[in-house]
């Protein structure tokens, strides 16, 4: 039976080539646009560390004076002062904790003739690598003792190791950063969480290839490296960031469950209250956000991308409405054919099935073409200057999703026309003929 419907549908579609093309094309454009933007949206709003994100939390304190708040809309300050970050580090109330700031690191290759270049540097503390599950190709991270002793040690990214040492095991060799020598203790495997959640609000980019060098915070600071973002409150001496009224560090903590998180929040609250008593803080409020919550609150997905995704789905809706209209007109015009088939014994269900098959064929064709449009769209996005551009690829999930959307959209579009067709009474149609 299905074969027969298929044959009927193909004949009917062939009879009106222009209209069939129009239906398929409009459906394909709608699907292509929505899949392109949805792929980008998913890429940008994804979980950067799926296996760990539930355990990672971002604490915030408010050291700002009451009459000079951090934000007009009363948001919590994004970053922490050095004093607070170090107090949280030394309290060791979480399973793991790390403070971090981004810096522009000038790397000078040891080979003569190679010019120095800037790369993205992270100044952080020992727990960083274990807490974020950063995989090592060679060696490992540094220890808390290295932090305290301001040891000149560094972890470098795989791509930097490839560039400087041709991919060989460089652990133990030295790297010159901002005119100081650091001993390499570890080389990372490819590691670039998208979005780069730990660098949010610390400057630099939110997406991309990942950072190149990682150094102990105190060592890097002693060597004169400066954070990319410094926000100051109060106007006292700001020459020394460690003691200045400035926020410039992000702190992450690892907590194993809800109970731990509640306990840590209590600890933070007590800490802030204590700082108020000491006169360092004026407001005792604190916040502790989970990783995904933090990303959502900071609106890491650009508004333009949200807007484009919305627009694409509006576009798809119009395309579906368009296809419904054309299918409907088409089927109503064939009332005579339906009348004949009904008179010859076809049931209502059979007519309904026949029209649904026709709609599904339009949908499948739209899906295939839509996939082509989506690939074209993503190709266009990869040529955009955005930092996430190179990551925009259609994955298997999206590939399948395209077909589900296409066939579903066309079946929905076919529902009304098929229903109307199956309701036609045979006699008047035959008589009119």
């Amino acid at each position: 039976m299905f074969g027969y419907y298929l044959d009927l549908a193909l004949r009917s579609l062939k009879r009106n080539k222009v209209l069939t093309t129009l239906m398929v094309l409009s459906l394909a454009l709608g699907i292509g646009a929505s899949i392109t933007t949805l792929t980008v949206f998913r890429l940008l709003s994804g979980d950067p560390l799926p296996q760990k994100s539930a355990q990672l939390f971002y604490p915030q304190l408010d050291p700002y004076p009451k009459d000079q708040p951090f934000s007009r809309s009363d948001k919590m300050p994004w970053l922490m002062t050095y004093a607070d970050a170090m107090n949280l580090m030394h309290a060791r109330k979480a399973t793991r904790q790390a403070a971090m700031a981004m810096t522009q690191a000038k790397v000078t290759p040891s080979t003569a003739g190679q010019k120095p270049f800037f790369s993205d540097g992270v100044m952080t503390t020992a727990d960083f690598f274990a807490m974020f599950d950063a995989p090592f190709r060679y060696g490992g991270g540094w220890s808390a003792a290295d932090d305290d002793n301001r040891m000149p040690v560094a972890v470098i990214a795989g791509f930097l190791n490839d560039k400087l040492f041709g991919g060989t095991d460089s652990v133990g060799r030295s790297i010159r950063i901002n005119e100081h020598d650091f001993r390499i203790v570890g080389v990372l495997d490819h590691w670039a969480p998208q979005p780069r959640f730990y660098g949010l609000r610390l400057g630099g980019h939110d997406y991309g290839t990942g950072d190149a060098v990682f150094m102990p915070l105190q060592t890097a600071r002693a060597d004169g490296m400066t954070p990319q973002v410094t926000l100051s409150f109060g106007s006292s001496d700001s020459t020394k960031l460690e003691t200045a009224p400035s926020i410039w560090l992000g702190v992450w903590v690892q907590l194993s469950g809800a109970a731990d998180a509640a306990a840590y929040r209590t600890f933070l609250g007590n800490y802030a209250a204590q700082q108020v008593t000491l006169g360092r803080f004026q407001r005792p409020r604190v916040s502790l956000s989970g990783l995904m919550q933090w990303l959502a609150d900071q609106r890491v997905v650009p508004d333009d991308v949200r807007l484009q995704t919305g627009l694409a789905f509006g576009f798809l809706l119009i395309c579906v409405v368009n296809t419904v209209g054309l299918l409907l007109a088409k089927c109503l015009r064939r009332s005579r054919e339906i009348g004949v088939r009904r008179a010859l014994g076809a049931s209502r269900g059979a007519i309904f099935a026949q029209f649904m098959v026709e709609a599904a064929i339009v949908g499948l064709a739209g899906g295939v073409l839509g996939l082509g449009f989506a690939e074209l769209g993503l190709l266009g996005i990869r040529h955009q200057p955005a930092e996430y551009a190179s990551l925009a690829h259609l994955d298997i999930g999206m590939f399948l999703f395209t077909f589900v959307v296409a066939v579903l959209a066309s079946l929905i579009a076919g529902l009304l026309p098929a229903w109307r067709a199956s309701l036609l009474a045979p006699a008047p149609q035959l008589k009119a003929a």
Partner: protein, 414 residues
């Protein structure tokens, strides 16, 4: 014109009519808002910086093995390096003027602070971007001085960014002067920059801050020129090329600076760029968004027009016999043509009515979820008109075909 036959014909096609109405309404809602977004982006991209952009170049570089700058002697060494570079650039044949300059409009690198009327920073507080530079900065940027004077060479300090020395004189942009002194008597007054006093010796007409980001949009033309040459391992310069010699000046500058220090870091991507390149880069996302919106609008309109044309031609085919009867009973060709045109006008009218409501609702939703302004009514009006015209254009071909149906059809079997 009698509407009766048209209306009763429409009643026969409720579902089809409803679908076209819906499609026109959705198209209008989306196209209105999209065109509004495009308009806003274009307006944003056309904002003036206040500088003479043609021939303005920014150089940003970092010396090889620069001194640390942590004591007075090494700060002097850094300053000497910078003065050598400035003198080198000044001697180039295609360079008209050159200045030490930390920031440049649109470029993104911003230093900012708060200006107030007393040391305790109570009362009026004005956020502003600080443009550190020397006495050549204002003329090099080409910013128009509307009151007071430029910095004198002996007023220029030099220090590292975190250094203590505070300037005694500043030049402010008109909005800063206006906010601090609404009576227009800012010139010669003392203001406090993050608590430190300085006298306003000049006012410039307009100077955009270096950032185009949302957080700085509330004070996007609040700028202050600071008479400080900032010393550090990196330094940036503003260069004014002789008229029409921008490209030549950029090539010369690269060659001359690398001759002074061949190992300095001055990459192609951001080392030496003209302001027009910087402008191009910073607004690329806005331009991309506007182009994408425009493409979607165009496709939407085409799809809707094709949908209307397609549906109407089906109706024409379906009603050949009725048309024949009407013609046989004396209707002229023009009457048949009119019939379909009026029919479309009624449908499109319903569509745009619903569409206006949807467009305003969509705009309201966008206003609550994104930073979007209220949709001005002219946009809606133009959208309505455009949809009606597109409807008429789409229906013309099938309607013409209908008007050519001969009366004899009435006598034949369908």
């Amino acid at each position: 014109m009698r509407l009766h036959p048209t209306l009763s014909a429409l009643r026969q096609h409720k579902a089809g009519v409803l679908l076209i109405v819906l499609q026109i309404a959705l198209t209008l809602a989306i196209v209105c808002n999209a065109i509004f977004v495009i308009g806003q982006r274009i307006e944003r991209m056309n904002r003036p910086t206040g500088t003479v952009e043609d021939g303005l170049i920014r150089i940003s570089q970092s010396w090889f093995g620069a001194p640390a700058g942590d004591d007075a002697a090494s700060v002097e060494k850094l300053d000497a390096l910078q003065r050598t570079d400035l003198a080198t650039l000044r001697n180039l044949p295609d360079v008209q003027d050159v200045a030490a300059s930390t920031s440049m409009p649109l470029q993104g690198m911003i230093y900012s602070g708060t200006l107030s009327l007393n040391a305790q920073q109570t009362g009026v507080a004005v956020s502003a971007a600080y443009y550190y530079g020397d006495e050549h900065l204002r003329p090099t940027l080409g910013v128009r001085l509307i009151a007071g004077r430029d910095f004198r060479a002996d007023e220029i300090l030099h220090r590292t960014l975190t250094g203590e020395a505070a300037p005694s004189v500043i030049i402010v942009s008109k909005p800063v002067a206006g906010k601090l002194f609404p009576d227009g008597d800012a010139l010669g007054k003392t203001v406090y920059q993050d608590g430190k006093p300085a006298t306003i010796v000049g006012i410039v007409e307009r100077l955009q801050t270096p950032t185009t980001a949302k957080w700085g949009s509330a004070w996007d033309y609040n700028s202050v020129l600071e008479p400080i040459r900032v010393d550090g391992a990196s330094a940036s310069y503003a260069v004014r090329a002789r008229p029409g010699r921008e490209q030549a000046a950029m090539r010369e500058a690269r060659k001359a600076l690398l001759a002074v220090d061949p190992l300095r870091v001055m990459p192609d991507s951001w080392g030496i760029q003209s302001l027009s390149q910087i402008r191009d880069k910073i607004y690329r996302a806005d331009r991309g968004m506007a182009l994408m919106m425009a493409a979607v609008c165009l496709i939407l309109v085409v799809v809707t027009a094709a949908g209307i044309a397609g549906l109407t031609s089906f109706w024409v085919g379906q009603r050949r016999k009725q048309i024949g009867v009407r013609r046989a009973l004396g209707a002229r060709r023009i009457d048949i043509l009119r019939h379909f045109q009026v029919e479309n006008l009624l449908i499109a009218g319903g569509g745009v009515l619903l569409g206006v409501v949807l467009a305003l609702a969509l705009n309201l939703w966008l206003m609550t979820h994104y930073e979007m302004a209220r949709l001005p009514l002219p946009y809606v009006g133009i959208g309505v008109l455009a949809m009606l015209v597109i409807g008429q254009a789409a229906v013309f071909m099938p309607a013409r075909r209908a008007s050519h149906v001969p009366p004899v059809v009435a006598t034949r079997a369908a």
